[in-house]
Structures are given as structure tokens and as C-alpha cells.
């Protein structure tokens, strides 16, 4: 993904932001695994698929480029304030927000506090909820260094076809540098607020979902093995008027697995809500 890279000063730390395309403004919050917007050829295709229809604003979340940035990021509130500063700093006027996985959690946290600043919300395989009897899978254990097992365990959590060519291309067992280090940097950044077992949740978020008052889409991969469909249903049930779309043959990393389908839903949502 090319585009203009700018830096926004926030109260906590400077945030690098990529902007591409023309059209209604979409604030895109990335997930936790290799989907940080970059110029690398391995970057996911979602941004490209969207670039023709919307003006995409994609910040790099704290720590994903540099873990030393994480020092001031202590809890969910810090992330929400950082996003509010980012929206204000860029002068975004009621953007549509799209969040995937880890970024989906943050999108929901932002929306329960300041729906008035947003035009629509799209949650893709979003973490954030604690759902009884449906704990998230043990991602941090799966993603730990595994000299002989490689990335097998984490691939099986993130992809509908973990041994297929796409999963193998994005996450082969032996990653070459710099991606080998990027992998652990992304896990580290996600652990900052996501570590607490069973991982990636805010105990209070579910009871606050009714505070989201803008059109909301909930999009889930049917084969999501890390945050299952019960979470999709909990989001859809908790947000008034939310629409739930379940994608077949998709797991957690829908941005890689179904970029076109995802882009179509996002564009339709944006057009419907604008």
C-alpha cells in the first residue's frame, strides 16, 4: 500500500498514519498480525481494494513499529484517547471506523465512548468481549517461539486453511528477517493490553455496547478459531440495529483471506451511512 505517510502528535506519542484514495473518510484500525499498513509486497490487499472508493486513513497502533513506544500505553483508555487525538489531529470529520481483530476491539471501545464523532462502525473479527464458555484461544502460547514447530500453531488459529498457499505465504514456518522480528514485535504490541487471560478483552465492554448509536456492521469469518462466532453474536446482540455478516471459507485474518468481499461490505456500509 502506498500513499502519504504523515505523523500526528498525540498527548501520549507520535502516531504514523497512511492516507490513500479519495472519497468518504474511513479510519482503519489494523489487527495484530502482519496487517499493519506498509509498502511491503506481503501487506494485505484490503487497503488496495478500498482505495478506489474511500479515503483510507490508517494509523499504526502503538508498539507495532517500535515496542519502546508502549511505555505510556497502560490500558484501554490510553488507546481511546490516542485515537481521539489522532482524529482531532488529522481534522477528520465524523469518519467511518473499520477495525479488524485487535483494531476492532479498539474501534468498539472508541464507539461506546464517542459515537457522536463517528459515522459508522464496522467490526471485523473483533476482540474485546468476554463471552462465557467462549474464551479466546491461547494466542500468546501459540505464537511463542517454537524452533521445531515453526508457525504451525498460530497459523491454525488465524487462517481458515492453515496449510493452504495463502497462509503459507503470509506465515511460513521459518520467517526470514525482517519479518521474523516483526512477528514477535506484533505479538508484543498486542500483549500490552491483550495479555490478561483469556486474552483480548475488556470486562466492561459488553455492558456498554448499547452506547453505540451509529450504523454498525459485524463481519466474521465462519472458521475463526481464535475468537469464535459467539463473540460475533454478542456484538450483534449488544448493538442496536447491528448487521451481522458471516463469511464462509474465512478465519480470523479476513483482511488477507477475503479482502474483496470485506471491501464490498465496507463500501456498502459507507455509502449507506454517508
Amino acid at each position: 500500500m502506498s500513499g502519504d505517510v504523515t505523523t500526528v502528535e498525540t498527548a501520549l506519542l507520535p502516531v504514523s498514519v497512511r492516507r490513500t484514495g479519495d472519497g468518504p473518510t474511513v479510519l482503519y484500525l489494523h489487527d495484530f498480525m502482519f496487517d499493519v499498513p506498509t509498502d511491503e509486497p506481503e501487506s494485505p490487499r484490503l487497503q488496495e481494494a478500498l482505495a478506489g472508493s474511500v479515503s483510507l486513513v490508517a494509523p499504526v497502533l502503538p508498539g507495532f513499529d517500535d515496542v519502546t513506544q508502549l511505555a505510556p500505553m497502560e490500558d484501554v483508555e490510553d488507546y481511546v484517547f490516542l485515537l481521539l487525538d489522532t482524529i482531532a489531529g488529522l481534522g477528520l470529520d465524523r469518519p467511518h471506523v473499520v477495525g479488524a481483530g485487535f483494531g476492532g476491539w479498539l474501534a468498539a471501545e472508541l464507539a461506546v465512548r464517542r459515537s457522536d464523532l463517528l459515522q459508522s462502525v464496522t467490526l471485523v473479527n473483533a476482540f474485546g468481549l468476554k463471552v462465557d464458555d467462549h474464551p479466546t484461544a491461547r494466542f500468546f502460547y501459540a505464537a511463542a517461539p517454537d524452533p521445531l514447530g515453526g508457525k504451525h500453531d498460530v497459523r491454525h488459529l488465524l487462517f481458515a486453511e492453515p496449510e493452504g498457499s495463502l497462509a503459507q505465504a503470509v506465515m511460513p514456518d521459518q520467517l526470514a528477517e525482517p519479518r521474523a522480528t516483526t512477528f514477535f514485535r506484533h505479538v508484543h504490541a498486542a500483549a500490552r493490553i491483550g495479555w490478561e487471560p483469556p486474552a483480548f478483552y475488556d470486562r466492561k465492554l459488553r455492558s456498554r455496547l448499547s452506547r453505540i448509536t451509529v450504523p454498525t456492521q459485524v463481519i466474521w469469518g465462519r472458521a475463526n478459531a481464535i475468537v469464535d462466532l459467539a463473540h460475533a453474536e454478542a456484538y450483534a446482540a449488544g448493538i442496536e440495529g447491528a448487521e451481522l455478516t458471516i463469511l464462509d471459507d474465512a478465519g480470523h485474518l479476513v483482511v488477507y483471506e477475503k479482502p474483496k468481499e470485506l471491501a464490498e461490505i465496507v463500501v456498502a456500509t459507507v455509502e449507506g451511512a454517508s
Partner: protein, 396 residues
């Protein structure tokens, strides 16, 4: 000190022993006997003239059976007379407050007649899975906890402490320790540069506690520690750094090797994770991302036979061999302390005790003499802390 009774069947079914080996495999009757033997070994070390005995801390694993090493230190304090007692544990990040460590260490110092060496550790990777604490803040939290602990021992209470992780209106620990202002403080680590640098900068004692570090790696860590001490304007003191090694002495090299390998093989099966199977060792943030990637590559190469593991740290052989190996290494490291694990894995109690006795009679005096002369010549201002030879009830 390991629990010695994990059966081969259980080991065959469970490749991961750290944090996840079912605790149904723990036979309390057996472990109670193991405990008695370990305390007997500490008492024997005291009588044999070792400078001290050491205990360590592990959680939820048969590899180490002292989740609270202070409890074991209390028992040892009542079965020993003159040996110093080093606790190479107290994972501050796992405790609600470091003041509980300070309280327990002060009690131990009183109970032992002022023989405590107070260790503090960040906590190993598996413990962050076992306790749920966030590993990405572990080092920051440890640094603050250590600062609070040291202040609580050196500044008269009550005082306020206003930290990021610990905020207390009233820091005023009772009792005070017998050693004033406080027992020697050791930070235990496995060679991470930030920990070595912190110790060198703050003048803290450092104990390298990783059995699985190759000797050439540990030598580099010692050089790094000296360089950093120099950089921060502190005179290097060889008694401010220690090394942990597995030791086994028998009449001949062949006998020693055979006895050692039997115990070590059990120990290695419990510690399989160091090589590849136990993913709990490296939670995110416990080490920097590039170090994790580098470790994964190196461990894979070693496992596939594509890279050398580096020279083994263990000191195994006849008295003459052990004298030579130990002297060579202490000279190369330029350090004044070595903690030795005589109880290797499930080695029988009488074999470990015989090894300790042989060591004390035929190895220790010569090593002490040569290393003392060497260090006195090179570092005439070194302190007169424990010089060598502390047996640790841990396994190699």
C-alpha cells in the same frame, strides 16, 4: 531441586513440563522424602565447610519444587550453623508487593543469625502464564519493586512510596534484619544485557542462574558486566558476580560421567522446553522481539545439528578433572562466586552426598587457594564476601 518421581510414562505423554505437566504426577509422599534429603544435603554442606547453600524458585513444574524458596530457607536455617543461605528467588513481579519479600527476608536473617543473601528475580517466562501477570511490563515493574525493596531496607520508616506500580502511604517494615543495613542483595538473571547493565550501574550483585548457557556465552556476559561497571565509574568487584554450574565428582572421570548422565537425563527431560517443546519460556515482552527471533533461529539450528550448542557448563569428573575445569573457568570469568548444583535431577541422595563430600575434601581447598591468589593479584580491593562453592539444591 526437582521432584524426583515423575515416571517415564508420564514424561512420554507430556512433552511440556513447565506449567502444564498435570499435577496428578506429583506424589506428595515422595516429594516429602525428597525435601528431607535436600535439607540433609544443606546440613551436610554446612558441616563440610561450604561457604553457603542456595535455594531457588520455580512454579508449577517438577523441575523445581520450591514455589516459595523462603519456606525452604527457613527450614535450612534451623539445620545449619555457619553456612550463608542464598535465596536465588523471590520473583517480585509475581508478588502483590515487594514488601512481603522484605518482611520474609528480614525474618530469615533473624532466624539464621544474619546469614542471609537476599536474591531478587524478574521471574521466568512460564510464571507469567501461571500467574497471569503482563510480561510486557515485567522489567519496569521489577525495577520499581527492587527500588522500593532497597529503600525499605535502607531508609528509616515510615515513609511514603509513590510509584507507578506500587503506591503506599506507609512503608515501615518490621522486623529489621540482623545484618545492617540489610543482607547482601543479589539480582538473578540469565544474561539479558539490561539486567547486567542495571546491576553494574547500581552496584548490585549479579548471579547468572542459567544452567543452559554455554561457558563462552557466560564469559561474554562477565566481560559485559565488567565493561559496564567501568563505564559507570564503579570499580569491578569479582565477588559481586556469581555463576551457577552443575557439578559432579566421583573417584574417576568414567564413574562421574556415568552417574552424572543418569541424573542429567532426567533433568533434561523435565527441562525439555529449553530446547524446543515448552513454549511457555518466552511470553511476549519478556525479551525484545529481535532476541526472540534470534533465539528461535539458533535453537532450531542447534536442534537440527546445524549449529554448535557451545561448550557445556557442567563440571564433571574425578577430583583432579573438577579442580582443573573449575579453576580454568573461574579464572576465565574473573569472578569470585560459584553456586553448584550437586543434586542433579533424580540422582540418588547418597550419590549426591558422596560427590559433595569428595568436592569439599579434594577440590574445594585447591580451587579456593588458586582463585583467591589470582583474584587478589588482579583485584586487590575486592570484598571478602563468600569466595566460592555454594551448593544449590537445584537440578542441572
Amino acid at each position: 531441586m526437582s521432584f524426583q518421581g515423575v515416571t517415564p510414562e508420564v514424561l512420554a505423554e507430556n512433552v511440556v513440563s513447565w506449567g502444564t505437566l498435570p499435577n496428578s504426577a506429583c506424589d506428595p509422599e515422595r516429594l516429602s522424602r525428597d525435601y528431607r534429603n535436600y535439607i540433609d544435603q544443606a546440613s551436610l554442606a554446612d558441616r563440610l565447610g561450604f561457604d553457603g547453600v542456595a535455594v531457588n524458585e520455580h512454579h508449577m513444574t517438577p523441575f523445581g519444587t520450591m514455589p516459595n524458596p523462603n519456606v525452604m530457607a527457613a527450614a535450612i536455617s534451623q539445620r545449619t550453623e555457619r553456612a550463608r543461605i542464598a535465596v536465588l528467588g523471590n520473583a517480585l513481579a509475581l508478588r502483590k508487593t515487594p514488601l512481603s519479600s522484605i518482611e520474609e527476608y528480614s525474618m530469615l536473617d533473624l532466624l539464621s543469625g544474619g546469614r542471609m543473601e537476599a536474591g531478587f528475580v524478574v521471574g521466568g517466562g512460564p510464571e507469567f502464564y501461571s500467574f497471569g501477570q503482563n510480561p510486557t511490563e515485567a522489567r519496569d515493574r521489577f525495577a520499581e519493586a527492587l527500588a522500593l525493596a532497597r529503600r525499605a531496607w535502607s531508609e528509616p520508616g515510615p515513609f511514603r512510596f509513590d510509584g507507578r506500580y506500587y503506591a503506599l502511604d506507609c512503608v515501615n517494615p518490621w522486623p529489621r534484619p540482623l545484618q545492617q543495613p540489610h543482607p547482601p542483595v543479589w539480582v538473578c538473571g540469565v544474561g539479558s544485557p539490561p539486567t547486567l547493565e542495571m546491576c553494574a550501574r547500581e552496584g548490585l550483585n549479579y548471579m547468572g542462574v542459567n544452567f543452559h548457557t554455554a561457558t563462552d556465552e557466560f564469559q561474554k556476559q562477565c566481560e559485559y558486566f565488567r565493561d559496564k561497571a567501568d563505564q559507570y565509574g564503579r570499580e569491578y568487584d569479582p565477588n559481586s558476580i556469581g555463576w551457577l554450574a552443575a557439578v559432579h565428582v566421583a573417584e574417576t572421570d568414567e564413574q562421574a560421567r556415568a552417574e552424572y548422565l543418569e541424573g542429567a537425563s532426567y533433568s533434561h527431560s523435565l527441562a525439555a522446553g529449553f530446547i524446543g517443546n515448552s513454549k511457555t519460556f518466552f511470553p511476549p515482552g519478556h525479551m525484545p522481539p529481535d532476541k526472540l527471533a534470534g533465539w528461535e533461529r539458533h535453537a532450531r539450528a542447534v536442534a537440527l545439528g546445524e549449529a554448535e550448542r557451545g561448550p557445556d557448563m557442567s563440571i564433571v569428573g574425578s577430583p583432579e578433572t573438577c579442580r582443573r575445569l573449575l579453576t580454568e573457568r573461574l579464572r576465565a570469568f574473573e569472578i569470585g562466586n560459584v553456586v553448584m548444583g550437586f543434586q542433579v535431577g533424580n540422582m540418588p541422595h547418597d550419590v549426591a552426598s558422596r560427590s559433595m563430600t569428595l568436592f569439599a575434601q579434594e577440590v574445594m581447598p585447591a580451587v579456593r587457594k588458586e582463585i583467591d591468589e589470582f583474584l587478589d593479584g588482579k583485584y586487590p580491593n575486592r570484598t571478602n564476601a563468600a569466595e566460592a562453592s555454594v551448593p544449590v539444591e537445584a537440578s542441572a
